[in-house]
């Protein structure tokens, strides 16, 4: 295994971590309209992710930074090629981050409502867009001999990619509902479980369809196994949710996210961005990567930092392990 293969795996891990973590916090953002009945319940939901959403988002920053360092050509083609969707995602992430921090800082009804709307839309849109983006990434886009994206924005809206968007939207919303049932107490916890039961069934359809399509298109034996894991985990999450085993339900919905992302990266390898114009113009781990020296340096960094990050982020989840209910939220806001 060469170093650029290691970095392909590491970047896959960073994206997987990102979707696992921010997946449920996008879901929570969506549930502020779907699940919460009043302002107090919205606040309960927002507070379940309050201490962690910022740390979750850094997985994205690291995935992007690592791609820049390990595969400059991948980074350049991806970011300049998917210009407008990324612009939209950036705007959402800006608005969303500010909304969490600023919503409670004034008590006016209008102020709070505006930021709550911002949280909902800025969680929903990226949840869709990431799926569309990854759909295109795996499926391949128009890349010319100079590694440049030459398609248009409309090319990005092909059926496979749109289905991908539907997968991330439903899966993150389900993952968020399960997280809500795990982290809250009282009335909202029960409702989160009931919502999750419905959402899980709704999620099953696009997930099976999209992963099946991926498998038929580019799959092999390994990807088939991972696909089965993803679907079985989703069914298991539904079962655990039904039985009221919230911790297990969350673990299983998490495994679905992990397996689904893993399957995408498995079918992508050794490409990082296949070209639909000419196979030989595809970006691969070989032709898009940095020099062995740079890869060695950042491997040391990642080898040292990644376990540490997992350790202290894990500690954060442990510190804030208690459930939150409306009674825990002070009235003042």
């Amino acid at each position: 295994m060469q170093l650029h293969d290691v970095w392909f795996v590491l970047i896959a891990v960073l994206w997987t971590g990102y979707f696992f973590l921010e997946g449920f916090d996008f879901g929570i953002g969506i549930h502020t309209k779907l699940l919460a009945r009043d302002r107090q319940e919205k606040r309960v939901l927002i507070n379940t992710i309050g201490p962690v959403w910022d740390g979750n988002e850094v997985w994205l920053i690291s995935a992007a930074g690592a791609t820049f360092a390990a595969f400059p050509d991948w980074y350049a083609t991806l970011f300049s090629g998917f210009y407008l969707p990324l612009l939209l995602i950036l705007v959402c992430l800006i608005v969303r981050g500010v909304a969490f921090e600023y919503r409670h800082k004034r008590t006016e009804e209008n102020w709070q409502r505006n930021w709550e709307n911002a949280i909902f839309w800025a969680s929903l849109l990226p949840a869709v867009l990431w799926g569309v983006l990854f759909g295109n990434l795996v499926h391949g886009v128009k890349i010319d001999a100079h590694k440049e994206y030459v398609g248009s924005v409309l090319d990005l809206l092909n059926p496979y990619a749109v289905l991908g968007g539907l997968v991330t939207l439903t899966l993150f919303t389900f993952h968020g509902a399960v997280f809500a049932s795990l982290k809250t107490t009282g009335d909202i916890r029960e409702r989160a479980r009931r919502t999750a039961a419905v959402l899980g069934v709704l999620t099953l359809v696009p997930v099976t369809g999209f992963l099946g399509w991926t498998q038929a298109d580019k799959g092999d034996g390994t990807s088939l196994i991972v696909m089965i894991v993803a679907v079985v985990a989703l069914v298991a999450a539904l079962g655990a949710n039904k039985l009221g085993r919230e911790g297990w339900a969350f673990a299983f919905s998490g495994i679905t996210v992990v397996a689904a992302v893993a399957m995408l990266f498995l079918t992508l390898f050794p490409n990082v961005m296949p070209s639909t114009l000419n196979e030989s113009w595809s970006l691969t781990v070989g032709n898009a990567s940095s020099s062995p020296y740079t890869l060695k340096i950042i491997t040391w960094c990642a080898g040292f930092a990644t376990p540490l990050v997992m350790l202290y982020q894990g500690w954060t989840y442990w510190v804030f392990r208690k459930r939150i209910g409306t009674q825990h939220i002070a009235d003042a806001h």
Binding site: R43, I46, N47, G50, P51, D54, G55, V58, L60, I61, S62, A64, G65, A66, F68, A69, A70, F71, P72, D73, Y75, A76, T77, L78, F79, S80, Y83, L84, L86, L87, I94, V95, G97, V98, E101, Y102, K105, R106, K147, E148, S290, S291, Y293, T294, I297, C301, A302, A305, V309, Y312, Q313, T316, V319, R321, K322, I324, Q327, H328, I329, A330
Partner: protein, 502 residues
Amino acid sequence: MELALAPETLARWQFGITTVYHFLFVPLTISLAALVAGLETAWVRTGKEKYLKATKFWGKLFLINIAMGVVTGIVQEFQFGMNWSAYSRFVGDVFGAPLAFEALIAFFFESTFIGLWIFGWDKLPKKIHCFCMWMVSIGTLLSAYFILAANSWMQHPVGYKYNAANGRAELTDFWKVLTQDTTLVVAFHTLTAAFLTGAAFMVGIAAFHLMRKKHIKVMRTSLRLGLITLVIAGILTAVSGDSLGKVMFKQQPMKMAAAEALWDKEQPAPFSVFAYGDVDKGHNTVAIEIPGLLSFLAHSDFRSPVPGINDVNKSEQQKFGPGDYRPNIPVAYWGFRWMIGFGMSSFAIGLAGLWLTRKKFWLAPGLRTGDEEPPQLALTKNKVLGARLSKWYWSLAFVTLGFPLIANSWGWIFTEMGRQPWVVYGVLRTSDAVSPGVSQGEVLTSMIVFTALYAILAVVEVKLLVKYIKAGPQELTDSDLNPPTKIGGDSTDADRPMAFSY
């Protein structure tokens, strides 16, 4: 019109706007994190309530700023790939490494521990809570260091070789990128200027409350902390600025010649106080100068020659082929002066404040006003005159609290525009760095969207800051004063409201 809206021009404007906007929040965040950590440490060690109140008050202002700093930082990272894909391909092997270090080491630190700090008041024992703030502070410092190493490489590329086979720069010595003199001096200068910024902010706000005779105990402490930091940071900013100037005279003679509007080589070279020139003809029509001072700034003696803009332009033409290698000279010239002018006036105000509040006067036993009494700067023993002069000083300190922010912005504009037409000095031209596949419409759209969003958020941010500054430190509750002794909080408080919630 055609040229004014060229994708390169738009991408440059967008980079400039994003960077300057991002850098309004970064220095405040860096310095306030450390100052808040210091105040919390004082509380942990002494148990004095004023320190806890100060920690919470300045912590809130810090959080309002870091929220904006973080979200605008993501745009910074993404726009390299979005607008400057040719640049990313060319330098990713070198430039990406410090960026990856920043993300993997510094950002995770910062973002994870900030969550623990905000929500951890009733979940963590106070020592651990305080430790989290130090982690945030270390995160911000490391982050600044890595990104400055990346930027310094663009100013003075080292530790790489050009690989003709795939047409890109490749890293050969990462240690050199992290520790070259440019990186060290730039980091020193940027960080001291960051502390100058936070200290001036703190002094201004403390002066505002003291002027209104409110929150005296907390604000006296904050004022002194701010003043001491301001003066130390001011001296170090000047010292580091001087070393940075000397490094630049060696590495980027064009930038310094432009900063001085020095057209032709002079020996000894004078320092320009005011200049008005004709860029096309390459000379100044009006110039007020101090003889020999520029030679001293560049070489530490009053006699050595300093090459001018025309000389450097000629030598670069010989080296890199025909072309115009001059940056925008008025911007470089005035940017350099605004940076020094605004930064140093803030330092002067701090120095005056420190002298006015020294032990002999304000804090001296005879003249000392009690902890809760409105303090009076004892400029004179005449009580009436003293009160009036004090008020003048408070107002001055308040209205100048944003001076270093202006200085920082001009500093970056100078340093980035002074390097043009190069994006990597002597290696890659800015015009060769833009994304070839991105259309004018796309760049224009994103520039309009970001600028509008930034404008709206700026209004929101200022409103919030004003609200929290005016409100001043809050009264403490029992749970503030009695933090948990166990991680995760006590088991008996299952239904207690959280100490902090969104």
